[in-house]
């Protein structure tokens, strides 16, 4: 499966579509860190960044999965031996791209943005929150990719609308049971993250894996 992941990443990088989410990421970074983050507020800032970058992660996953022409997916399915491997390789390639974006999002404020370096613990917590955002974003991007939603208008509406719905639902009292974006932002802001980390991670990963499983399931009849 790794050679197929490499093939997809090579096609994505050469198609210059990678520039779209990278530019969006840098635009968001400029907004986040236009004024310096005071010392002690690093984790709070990481929490916001992880919640808002879900949109960029989703866009990157969707654009990676949409790079290949539909017929190439059929060729890749037979070359890989099973259709499921093509679907899995697509998700892995999307996760790899988003890991790269996460690395930028976590490292950039260390160079420019934070007035003081965060403690190693806060750096790890910040990275962890971004990984949660990455998993949700990748699932949302996959579910709005072309094989599932052939119309670009519908797909973009569902991508942005889906993100907004997740954000709003997580504000409600049942927020802990949905993708808990607002709860993790709040916990990172008030210093209660360590206590809430386990349920937040469990809920987020549950929804992310549910989304990816649904994607893989739908792709069975939508090659």
């Amino acid at each position: 499966m790794i050679p197929l992941v490499r093939f997809k990443l090579a096609a994505y990088a050469r198609s210059h579509r990678l520039l779209q989410p990278v530019i969006a990421l840098f635009a968001m970074m400029v907004v986040f860190y236009s004024s310096p983050i005071p010392a002690g507020k690093e984790l709070s800032s990481y929490g916001d960044s992880a919640g808002l970058l879900i949109l960029v992660f989703a866009w990157a996953a969707r654009s990676l999965l949409d790079t290949e022409p539909p017929t190439q997916r059929l060729i890749s399915m037979t070359a890989a031996g099973r259709p499921g491997r093509e679907v899995g390789a697509g998700l892995l390639a999307a996760l790899a791209v988003n890991l790269g974006l996460t690395a930028i999002a976590v490292a950039l404020p260390l160079v420019h943005g934070f007035t003081a370096l965060p403690t190693p613990g806060d750096l790890l917590r910040g990275l962890g929150l971004h990984l949660l955002g990455l998993s949700v974003g990748t699932a949302l991007g996959a579910l709005t990719s072309k094989p599932i939603m052939p119309s670009p208008a519908v797909s973009l509406l569902v991508l942005f609308g889906g993100y907004l719905a997740m954000l709003l639902l997580s504000l409600t009292p049942v927020g802990g049971f949905t993708v808990p974006i607002m709860p993790w932002m709040r916990a990172a802001n008030t210093g209660g993250l360590d206590a809430a980390l386990l349920p937040l991670t469990a809920a987020t990963l549950f929804w992310a894996s549910a989304g990816m499983t649904l994607y893989a399931r739908l792709r069975r009849t939508r090659p």
Binding site: P3, L4, R6, F7, A10, A11, R14, S15, E68, P69, P70, T71, Q72, L74, I75, S76, M77, T78, A79, A80, G81, R82, P83, R220, T221, P223
Partner: protein
């Protein structure tokens, strides 16, 4: 490999493309699939290739190594032909030296350094054929492979198909142009009306003749022709 009561439709709201298809594929056989546009040939090939599962029914004994060449090769990819085929050889876990061998055979060596997007239809078709042959397939599926090919490759392809069949592989070719009409031992499948009709062995050549008779004698002549084993069809009831 066997298809049992296979039905297929793309979604629950769509009409059936194929219904209750029963087919058997022997190792070493060559099958030519014909049918009108939109009859479901490509869908049948995708089912055989294992790309889509049947909506109902089952497919047994699907081979391990499947080669698939689509009817239109997707040229819209940012690779040279060589870089593309090297990636595909990696995915199939075969040595890239196969690329050179196959390119030589299909007269495609000069194409390898060109960008996929710059290839003509026939040249792109050759890249599609090469990738399908990188690993010796147990099942080779070619969707309209002859379209746009030059005379040399059109002549070479049946030889390659014969070699794969001789080695015990199964080859299924959808072919509008009946290039395999004279291929020895080829089976013919006709896809239409949601079903697949199997014509074993050489396809009988048929012709249509019209017979003009007095309307009063139509029944008598028709019965006599049917008694002789001919299929008759009334085209017009009365002529002035």
């Amino acid at each position: 490999m066997r298809l049992s009561e296979v039905c297929f439709r793309y979604s629950r709201r769509d009409p059936w493309v194929l219904r209750d298809v029963e087919l058997a594929l022997r190792p070493g056989s060559v099958v030519e699939v014909t049918g009108c546009n939109g009859a479901g040939k490509s869908t049948l090939l995708r089912l055989l290739a294992g790309i889509v599962p049947p909506s109902r029914g089952s497919i047994f004994g699907q081979p391990r190594t499947v080669g698939y060449a689509p009817d239109v090769f997707p040229v819209n990819q940012p690779f040279t032909a060589m870089a593309y085929l090297t990636h595909l050889a990696g995915i199939r876990d075969v040595s890239p030296t196969r690329i050179g061998e196959l390119a030589g055979r299909l007269d495609a060596a000069p194409l390898l350094d060109r960008q996929l997007g710059d290839l003509s239809k026939g040249s792109a078709q050759k890249v599609g054929l090469i990738q399908s042959l990188l690993a010796r397939p147990d099942l080779l599926i070619l969707d309209e492979p002859f379209a746009g090919l030059d005379a040399h490759t059109r002549g070479e392809l049946p030889a390659i198909i014969g070699e794969i069949a001789a080695a015990g592989g199964t080859v299924v070719v959808s072919d509008h142009q009946n290039q395999l009409d004279t291929f020895p031992g080829a089976e013919h499948w006709l896809v239409g009306g949601g079903t697949v009709a199997v014509e074993a062995g050489e396809r009988p050549r048929q012709a249509v003749i019209e017979v003009l008779v007095d309307a009063d004698r139509a029944d008598e002549v028709e019965q006599r022709l049917q008694a002789d084993g001919y299929t008759t069809r009334r085209t017009a009831r009365w002529t002035a």
